[in-house]
C-alpha cells in the first residue's frame, strides 16, 4: 500500500457546500430528528435521522435508504448534524461501508450554521429514487471477533473515544484513550489537519499501524474519530461499530485503572 499517510478530504467547508447547493451538484443529508428537520434545515437537504438508520443497518436496508435519498454511485454526499459531527460521522461511515466513496462531513454543526446567519429552509425537497450498487467495504468494519483476533498484534492500535473517566473505569484491554472532545476545534467538528497530525504523532499513532476506534454504544463518537484519523492521513482505520456496549454484553474481558478514586475528582 502506498498512500497510507496521504490526507483524504473528509470535510466540506461552508462556502463550497453553499455553492454546490446552488449548483444542485450535491446531496445533503441532515441526520437530526425528523421534528427538528421539519422546523428548518440547510436548503435542499434530505432527512435521515440516525435512529432510522440504526433501527436496521444491514447492508440491504442501508442500500434501500440510500436509493430512496436519490443517491447513486456518483452523487457527492455531505452529511451534517447538531451533535458535534458524531451522528453525521456514523451515517457517513455507513455510506462508505456499502461502497459510496464520495461522502464528506460538513465542517461545522447545524447550530453553528444557523448562528452564522446562513440560509435555512423548511421545505422538503422532492426526491426521485436512484440505483446505488452494493460494494461492501468490510475493511473499514471491525467486529468483536476481529478485535479478539488481533489482540496480540502490536501493529494494531485500538482507540477508545469515550470520556477519560469512563475509560479509566473500564475499557477493552490494550485500548488507548482519546476522548472525542479532543478531536474538535473551537469552531469546527474537527481540528485542523496539522493540529490533528501533531496530536497523533505525539501519541505515536501512525500510518504504520492499523487503527480501530470504538466508543460507548453505536459508533458515533468513534465514527468522528474515524474521520479525524482519515483527515490526518491515517486511512488504514476501522470502526468497531457495535462498540463497548456489545463488548460488555458479550462479557468479554475488560481492564480498569486500579487503586485510585478518580471519580471523586469530578465535580459533576
Amino acid at each position: 500500500m502506498c498512500c497510507l499517510t496521504e490526507s483524504v478530504k473528509v470535510t466540506t467547508d461552508i462556502d463550497s457546500l453553499r455553492s454546490e447547493i446552488r449548483d444542485n451538484s450535491v446531496r445533503v443529508i441532515d441526520v437530526r430528528r425528523e421534528g427538528d428537520y421539519k422546523q428548518d434545515h440547510i436548503p435542499n437537504s434530505v432527512n435521515l435521522p440516525l435512529a432510522t438508520l440504526l433501527s436496521d443497518d444491514s447492508p440491504e436496508r442501508v442500500l434501500k435508504l440510500v436509493n430512496s435519498l436519490g443517491i447513486d454511485d456518483e452523487t457527492p454526499v455531505v452529511v451534517y448534524d447538531d451533535t458535534f459531527g458524531a451522528l453525521a460521522s456514523r451515517v457517513a461511515w455507513t455510506l462508505e461501508w456499502i461502497g459510496h466513496s464520495d461522502v464528506t462531513l460538513l465542517e461545522t454543526t447545524y447550530g453553528n450554521w444557523k448562528s452564522l446567519g446562513l440560509e435555512t429552509d423548511s421545505l422538503t425537497p422532492e426526491i426521485s429514487n436512484k440505483e446505488h450498487s452494493m460494494n461492501l467495504q468490510s475493511n473499514i468494519l471491525a467486529t468483536s471477533e476481529y478485535l479478539e483476533s488481533v489482540k496480540s498484534r502490536d501493529d494494531v492500535i485500538l482507540i477508545d473515544n469515550r470520556e477519560r473517566l469512563n475509560y479509566l473505569e473500564q475499557h477493552i484491554p490494550g485500548a488507548v484513550s482519546l476522548p472525542y472532545r479532543t478531536l474538535a476545534s473551537s469552531d469546527g467538528i474537527l481540528r485542523s489537519k496539522e493540529d490533528m497530525k501533531r496530536l497523533f504523532d505525539n501519541r505515536d499513532i501512525s500510518g504504520d499501524s492499523e487503527i480501530i476506534t470504538y466508543c460507548g454504544s453505536v459508533g458515533t463518537l468513534s465514527g468522528l474519530a474515524y474521520y479525524a484519523l482519515k483527515s490526518a492521513g491515517l486511512s488504514n482505520t476501522k470502526l468497531y461499530v457495535r462498540s463497548f456496549k456489545e463488548w460488555k454484553n458479550l462479557e468479554k474481558p475488560t481492564d480498569k485503572q486500579q487503586d485510585a478514586n478518580y471519580w471523586d475528582l469530578s465535580a459533576e
Binding site: 461552508i14 462556502d15 465542517e107 461545522t108 453553528n112 452564522l116 470520556e163 477519560r164 473517566l165 479509566l168 488507548v176 484513550s177 476522548p179 472532545r181 479532543t182 473551537s186 469552531d187 469546527g188 501533531r198 496530536l199 505525539n202 501519541r203 505515536d204 485503572q257 486500579q258 487503586d259 485510585a260 478514586n261 478518580y262 471519580w263 471523586d264 475528582l265 469530578s266 465535580a267 459533576e268
Partner: protein, 602 residues
C-alpha cells in the same frame, strides 16, 4: 469564508498584563517525551525535566500526569477560564481543580498530551513551568489584596514582579528543594508564617515621607515537620525586596541539604542553624547582593491601577425577586471591600473541583459582574469574583444558582480543604478528597454555615502526613493513615486541634485517631462539647485556642479531656457488624494502604 471570522469575539475589559508562557516549551516537551519513551532519556533526568515544566506523576501509573497551571498572584482572566474549560474536556476528566496555592490543576492527563496543553495555555499567556520541582513555586498573593480594608497597600504588583523575576531565572532552576513566596494584604487574610518567604505590606514614615515596604517572614512551612516563620526585621523597604529574596535564595542554594531529601526545605536549614545565625547571614548576604547587583537587577513593579468599570448595565429582567438562600450566601461568601459599594464574592467548590461547564460560566460571570474584569483564586481551593457592585449581587446569586456555583458557607468551616488523596496522589493513604466533600455536604445540610460560632474555624484534611491540605494549621485538622483491627484494615485519620494561620500562627495539637467513617460524628461531637461549655462570646476557634493553651476552666480543660469524650466514638466495630466501616469513601473494595513513588522531593 472561515468560521472564526464570523464568530463574534467577546471583548474583555481586562487583559493579562504578563505573558507567562513560552510556546517553544511545548515542542520541547513533546520531543523530550518521545525520547523518553524511546528509552533515550533516563528515568531521573526525565522526571526532573517533567516536574520543572509543571507535570506531576499520577497514582500507580506512569501513563498519566497532573498538569499544575500557575496563576501568579491568583489572577485569572475570562479567556484563560475558557481555555481551561476546553482543556479539561479534551485532555483531562471534564473537571479541573483549584489548589490551595493558586494553581489550577488538570488531572489524569496522558503524558503524551501534556505538550498540547502547554500549546493552548501559551495562547492565553499561562504556564505550568516551575509549578513543581525544585524551583520557585507559584507566587501567591491574598485574594483580597487591593480590596482589603486592613491593608497598607496592594501587594499584587510586587507578587507579580517577583514571579516574573524568578520564572525561568537561572538562579532558580536547581534549588535544593521547592521554594515558596506568599504575599498578603494584612495579618488576617494571608498565610505568611507558613511559607519560605511570607510578606505583609507595611508603610513607615522615614524622614517625614511615607515609605512602602514589607514585614518579611522566613523559614516557615508545613510538611512532615512543620515550622512557623521568623520575622527578618521590623521593616524591609520595597527597594530591598528583591535583594532580600535573592539573598535568602542564595543562602538556601549554598547551604540547603541536597542529600537528605526528607528534610531539605529551607525551614530545616533555619531550624538547624538557629534563627539568629540565619538572620545574620541573610542580612550580610543582602548587603553583598545590594552592592553587586544594584545597577542591573530590579523588580519590574507595574503599579498602574487597574481600570474599574462596572460592566454594561446588567439587565434586570426577572424583577427584584430574591432567591431563597440569598441572605445565607451573602453572609458566608462575600466580603465588603474598602471601595464603597463593592464586594468580593467567594465561590465555593467541593474540595476545589470545578466542571468544564462551570469554568466557562466563570468567564461569562466575570464579564457580566466583575468591574475589574478578572478573578482571583484563593487559599482554600476556591475562587473570588471581586469588584461586584452591591446592586448586582442578587442577580449574580441567581446566576450562580443556575450553574451550581452558589454553595454557601464559603468563608466558614463548612468548606473544608481536602488534598488529592487517593484520587490521584501516589503517596496517599486515604481518600481525603472525598472526605472533604462528604463533610461539606453534611454540614451544609445541617446548615452549620449559618452558625456564627463556627465561621472562623477551619477543617483541613490531608491523605498522608505530608500536609498538602495544610492540616497542621486547621482548627480541626486530619491526616490519613491505615488503622487495623485484627487482620482487617480500615481508613483512619490522625486528628489535631487548635492550629491557626493568623498573627498567632500555631500548629494544632494531636488529639486522637479517628476512623474515616467516624470523622463526621466526631466533629459534630466536638461542636456539641463546645456549645455546652462555651462562654457567651466564644467561637469554636477561640474556645479550642484556650484549651490548647491550658487556659480553659470549664469541664473540658485539655485536649486529653476532649479525647476522653471522643474515645467511645472511634472504637472500631468488627467487620461483620459494620462492613462499611472498613471501606474508604468512594471505594467498594476492602481498604488497604498502597502507595507508589512520591515526587515531592524531586
Amino acid at each position: 469564508m472561515s468560521i472564526s471570522k464570523l464568530t463574534p469575539s467577546s471583548v474583555d475589559s481586562a487583559k493579562p498584563k504578563i505573558n507567562w508562557a513560552r510556546i517553544d516549551e511545548a515542542d520541547n516537551f513533546a520531543n523530550t517525551v518521545k525520547l523518553y519513551r524511546q528509552g533515550k532519556y533516563d528515568e531521573d533526568s526525565f522526571r526532573r525535566f517533567r516536574l520543572q515544566h509543571g507535570a506531576y506523576g499520577t497514582r500507580m501509573t506512569s501513563d498519566y500526569a497532573m498538569v499544575r497551571v500557575k496563576l501568579p498572584a491568583g489572577e485569572i482572566y475570562p479567556k484563560q477560564f475558557e481555555t481551561l474549560s476546553r482543556l479539561s474536556e479534551q485532555y483531562s476528566i471534564g473537571s479541573a481543580h483549584f489548589s490551595t496555592r493558586e494553581n489550577i490543576q488538570l488531572h489524569w492527563v496522558i503524558l503524551e498530551d501534556v505538550s498540547e496543553i502547554f500549546r493552548s495555555l501559551a495562547e492565553v499567556g499561562l504556564t505550568s513551568r516551575e509549578a513543581c520541582g525544585n524551583s520557585v513555586r507559584n507566587v501567591m498573593c491574598s485574594p483580597l489584596s487591593g480590596v482589603c480594608s486592613d491593608e497598607k497597600f496592594d501587594s499584587t504588583p510586587y507578587a507579580l514582579a517577583t514571579a516574573k523575576f524568578f520564572l525561568r531565572n537561572p538562579m532558580a532552576q536547581s534549588l535544593p528543594r521547592k521554594f515558596k513566596f506568599n504575599f498578603t494584604c494584612c495579618e488576617k487574610h494571608g498565610m505568611v508564617r507558613m511559607v519560605d518567604v511570607g510578606l505583609i505590606p507595611e508603610i513607615q514614615q522615614i524622614n517625614g515621607s511615607k515609605q512602602k515596604g514589607f514585614k518579611i517572614f522566613l523559614g516557615g512551612g508545613l510538611g512532615n515537620r512543620s515550622f512557623v516563620g521568623h520575622q527578618l526585621e521590623d521593616f524591609t523597604p520595597e527597594e530591598d525586596l528583591l535583594y532580600t529574596s535573592i539573598a535568602v535564595m542564595r543562602i538556601f542554594d549554598r547551604l540547603g541539604d541536597r542529600k537528605n531529601l526528607a528534610r531539605n526545605r529551607m525551614r530545616y536549614l533555619v531550624n538547624d542553624m538557629g534563627w539568629e545565625k540565619f538572620q545574620n547571614l541573610v542580612l550580610k548576604e543582602r548587603a553583598i547582593v545590594r552592592a553587586t547587583q544594584s545597577v542591573v537587577t530590579k523588580l519590574k513593579v507595574d503599579t498602574t491601577p487597574d481600570k474599574i468599570t462596572r460592566p454594561l448595565k446588567i439587565s434586570d429582567e426577572g424583577g427584584s425577586s430574591v432567591p431563597d438562600g440569598y441572605a445565607r450566601w451573602l453572609k458566608s461568601n462575600t466580603i465588603k471591600q474598602k471601595q464603597s459599594d463593592y464586594r468580593s464574592v467567594f465561590i465555593t467548590l467541593e474540595a476545589g473541583d470545578i466542571t468544564s461547564n462551570q469554568l466557562n460560566s466563570m468567564a461569562a460571570l466575570i464579564r457580566e459582574f466583575s468591574s475589574e474584569g478578572k478573578a482571583r483564586s484563593g487559599f482554600v481551593q476556591n475562587v473570588a469574583l471581586r469588584y461586584v457592585h452591591e446592586d448586582d449581587l442578587v442577580k449574580l446569586y441567581s446566576r450562580l444558582l443556575e450553574t451550581g456555583l452558589a454553595k454557601s458557607g464559603g468563608l466558614t468551616m463548612t468548606a473544608p480543604v481536602g488534598c488529592s488523596g487517593t484520587t490521584s496522589c501516589n503517596l496517599a493513604l486515604t481518600n481525603s478528597h472525598r472526605l472533604a466533600k462528604e463533610i461539606q455536604r453534611k454540614f451544609l445540610e445541617l446548615k452549620l454555615d449559618e452558625d456564627d460560632d463556627l465561621a472562623d474555624s477551619s477543617i483541613k484534611i490531608s491523605g498522608c502526613p505530608n500536609s498538602c491540605a495544610q492540616h497542621g494549621i486547621a482548627t480541626i485538622g486530619f491526616f490519613g493513615g491505615g488503622g487495623r483491627l485484627g487482620k482487617d484494615m480500615y481508613p483512619n485519620y490522625q486528628m489535631s486541634l487548635g492550629g491557626r494561620f493568623d498573627a498567632d500562627t500555631t500548629l494544632g495539637q494531636t488529639c486522637l485517631r479517628v476512623p474515616a467513617k467516624r470523622v463526621i460524628p466526631v466533629i459534630l461531637k466536638i461542636i456539641e462539647l463546645f456549645k455546652a461549655n462555651k462562654q457567651s462570646d466564644d467561637t469554636l476557634k477561640s474556645w479550642i485556642h484556650r484549651i490548647v493553651n491550658d487556659s480553659e476552666d470549664s469541664d473540658i480543660k485539655s485536649i486529653g479531656d476532649i479525647k476522653k469524650v471522643l474515645e467511645p466514638l472511634v472504637a472500631p466495630p468488627t467487620k461483620e457488624d459494620d462492613p462499611d466501616f472498613y471501606l474508604d469513601y468512594g471505594s467498594d473494595t476492602s481498604y488497604h494502604t498502597k502507595t507508589g513513588k512520591g515526587e515531592c522531593a524531586a
